[in-house]
């Protein structure tokens, strides 16, 4: 058992380099650049946005970043890698782990680019960004799990966009998910964001393993 774990450990390290090469860099780079542009918009134009505008810019940047992450689990070689000994969950987790430091750096830059005067509490907004990023990854994992599609990225991105447009309209007002920073329900709302992020992450992880049997008709 121990030997197997050790083998798996070295396998993981061996996998890192090829995985790094096959990550959807163009999508991630485009999303990252656009997110920085969105967040840096007031800085570039010299505008002094109101707190609600800065919050919206940050939420927009988080959405853009999540749209990039929606393409992270796209694997053109998916049907070839299905029988390899390294489980899919591990490969997907490794993809996320490879991108996570970059994403953290990127989000820090996004936060720093927004004007200090109107910046909402960093913790709360970061939690929102984490939740929407987790939602993107979970949706991608779910799409991989439920369909035979090798690159479900566009579907996931469309789903994410619709969620982003409809959720603020349809989410019950008492959930206080989309409140302003000066709202007294900000902290309660962010407890809900944390629960949401955790639930979505668990769902995403649950979709990771390859289904045990071949589906019928395939």
């Amino acid at each position: 058992m121990r030997g197997l774990t050790a083998v798996r450990g070295t396998l993981t390290v061996d996998l890192a380099v090829p995985l790094w090469r096959t990550l959807p860099w163009r999508a991630l780079a485009a999303a990252g650049a656009l997110g920085l542009l969105v967040a840096g918009f007031p800085l570039v134009t010299g505008a002094e946005p109101a707190p609600w505008q800065t919050l919206m810019l940050l939420r927009g940047a988080a959405l853009v970043g999540a749209l990039g992450l929606a393409f992270l689990l796209d694997d053109p070689a998916r049907h070839l890698t299905a029988p390899v000994p390294t489980p899919r969950l591990l490969r997907q987790a490794l993809r996320v782990a490879l991108v996570a430091p970059l994403a953290a750096l990127w989000w820090t830059a996004v936060l720093l680019l927004t004007p200090v005067a109107s910046r909402p509490p960093a913790g709360g907004v970061t939690l929102e960004a984490l939740a929407v990023g987790a939602l993107a990854l979970a949706a991608a994992a779910l799409a991989v799990r439920l369909t035979d599609e090798a690159r479900p990225g566009p579907f996931v991105a469309a789903f994410l966009l619709f969620t982003a447009v409809l959720a603020p309209l349809l989410a019950p007002e008492d959930w206080a998910l989309f409140v302003q920073a000066d709202d007294p329900r900000w902290s309660v709302g962010h407890d809900r964001w944390a629960v949401l992020a955790a639930a979505v992450a668990v769902l995403g992880a649950g979709c990771g393993p390859e289904p045990s049997g071949r589906r019928r008709g395939r």
Binding site: A27, V38, G68, A70, P154, A157, L161, V165
Partner: protein, 506 residues
């Protein structure tokens, strides 16, 4: 049987370019079907139709002014357009993603022919939007209380927006050949056009946005709107066509026809853009017309039951409705007020353009009442309060200074005949309360009620003692005498008086 044979052999004999055109149309039909049945577009259209039904059921309290109703059809098609953009871009990228690009290169259709097919495939979505817009506007126009004229150019904005967004999706898909470009573009467009504060139409640059919304509480006559709607429609149509032809040109279609079309459509876009920017600032004539309409308007007058009703020509069909309110207020009034001829004049303040909420000063002439351009809902008790105040105090200006017991008489006249007097009392007061002192809205200067007057009016409206109407006509002279106290009015009408003695200083 022979017909079938002829049908089948026809394409073989047709010349090559004819076959190409037919193949492009077939591809466009196929892609359009796929686009309209794709999940984002279906969701967008379902949400759009649901929004139309939800909103139009009781928009403008059943009394729409059609030159405003046409603009209300513009904003939601943008969301449909974003869904169409996503779908169109995905369709363009599909062959690249699935590695079928090389297979297509052996077909009769060149890449730019296929791009033309993709560009044409967004047209049905725009047509479907046009049907929805027509449905929404037609519903408004068929309401019994509708007045005014819609503008075809304003109605065209919704479908043209969908067309332009779809063409943009095709172009972006062709330029990037990457599936992630369209969603990112959608976020940018969401930020710029939908979530943003929305262009106000004040400057020429803001008219470059697909939808320029200016909505105010008071509709204006259609010739005073001063919106370059026709140029804007030309601009949008030109932009949609340019984007589509640009996508075709990028894909290799550099024929004379495409080049000429591109030049023409770009020219249309630029012409529309420049002329709409010129129309964004009101011209001298428009400013003069607005000034005239605000100060000395040319109204058409009609007689109903002894009173004169003067309205802007577009509102002329509504004078009968106003007459109904005046008649019902006068029916409960006594003395000379019962059949005093009134002059109801429609007034607006158009000097600041549409989208502003300008206060209108009260009229000082005896027996003159102001009515606004909006109607239905709260506007009805507001107007009836103004009519009652004029009947009791003589003029609007005098009515706005009422502070003695006559205010109770005014509110009784204004509200007692309404279907839901207490609801009307609540709605006509600025703070939606039925206790305490409050401001009472009217088309011009507001009236004010003290706490004691409110208590008496509430008792009168909640449980009117039998014969209140008769007592009002019987004691009319005393009820409308200047300086009568609220306590005395309550006593005359048979309800308990106020706890505190009210005075004009309250």
């Amino acid at each position: 049987m022979s017909a079938v044979l002829v049908e089948e052999s026809a394409p073989v004999r047709a010349p090559l370019h004819d076959r190409r055109a037919r193949a492009v149309l077939a591809l466009a039909r196929f892609e359009a079907r796929r686009l309209l049945l794709s999940v984002p577009v279906v969701i967008a259209f379902v949400a759009y139709v649901a929004w139309i039904v939800w909103r139009t059921r009781d928009s403008w309290d059943g009394h729409p002014v059609l030159q405003d109703a046409d603009r209300a059809t513009q904003s939601m098609p943008m969301l449909v357009g974003l869904a169409v953009l996503l779908g169109a871009a995905r369709a363009v990228v599909r062959s690249e993603r699935h590695g079928t690009e090389h297979h297509f290169s052996v077909l009769v259709l060149r890449p730019w022919h296929r791009m033309a097919g993709h560009a044409l495939s967004v047209v049905p979505a725009a047509l479907l939007t046009a049907v929805c817009v027509a449905g929404q506007f037609g519903w408004e126009a068929l309401k019994a209380g509708a007045v005014g004229h819609g503008s075809p150019a304003e109605l065209a904005v919704g479908p043209l927006t969908v067309l332009a967004f779809g063409a943009l999706g095709v172009l972006v898909g062709r330029l990037t050949m990457a599936a992630f470009a369209a969603p990112l573009l959608v976020v940018v467009l969401l930020f710029v056009f939908v979530l943003g504060t929305g262009p106000s139409g004040a400057s020429g640059l803001s008219w470059l946005a697909p939808v320029v919304a200016t909505t105010g509480p008071d509709p204006l006559p259609s010739d005073l709107l001063g919106r370059p709607a026709a140029w804007h429609a030309l601009y949008l149509a030109g932009a949609a066509l340019s984007l589509a032809l640009l996508a075709v040109a990028v894909a290799g279609g550099r024929t004379a026809a495409v080049r000429a079309g591109l030049v023409l459509s770009l020219a249309a876009t630029v012409t529309g853009g420049i002329l709409q920017a010129g129309g964004a600032t009101p011209s001298k004539e428009l400013t003069a017309a607005r000034e005239r309409a605000s100060v000395h308007p040319e109204l058409t007058c009609a007689e109903h039951g002894g009173s004169r009703y003067c309205a802007f020509p577009e509102w002329a069909p509504r004078t009968g409705t106003w007459a109904g309110v005046v008649d019902r207020v006068q029916a409960v009034a006594g003395g000379s007020a019962h059949d005093r001829p009134l002059v109801v004049r429609q007034r607006i303040d158009a000097r600041y353009g549409p989208g502003t909420d300008a206060a209108i000063p009260a009229l000082t002439g005896a027996g003159q009442v102001t009515v606004g351009t909006a109607w239905g809902g709260n506007r009805v008790p507001e107007f009836s309060s103004a009519v009652a105040a004029v009947l009791v105090a003589g003029s609007e200006a005098a009515g706005s200074e009422l502070c003695d017991g006559r205010m109770v008489t005014v509110m009784w006249l204004s509200l007692s005949w309404q279907d839901d007097p207490m609801g009307a009392l609540r709605r006509v007061r600025l703070d939606d309360s039925v206790t305490g002192s409050a401001i009472v809205l009217s088309p011009t200067d507001p009236l004010s009620m003290t706490e004691g007057q409110t208590d008496v009016v509430r008792r009168l409206l909640e449980n009117p003692p039998a014969g209140t109407g008769a007592r009002v006509t019987e004691h009319w002279a005393e009820l409308t005498a200047p300086g009568v106290t609220t306590a005395r009015v309550a006593e005359l009408l048979g309800v308990p008086g106020p706890k505190k003695a009210d005075s004009c200083e309250d």
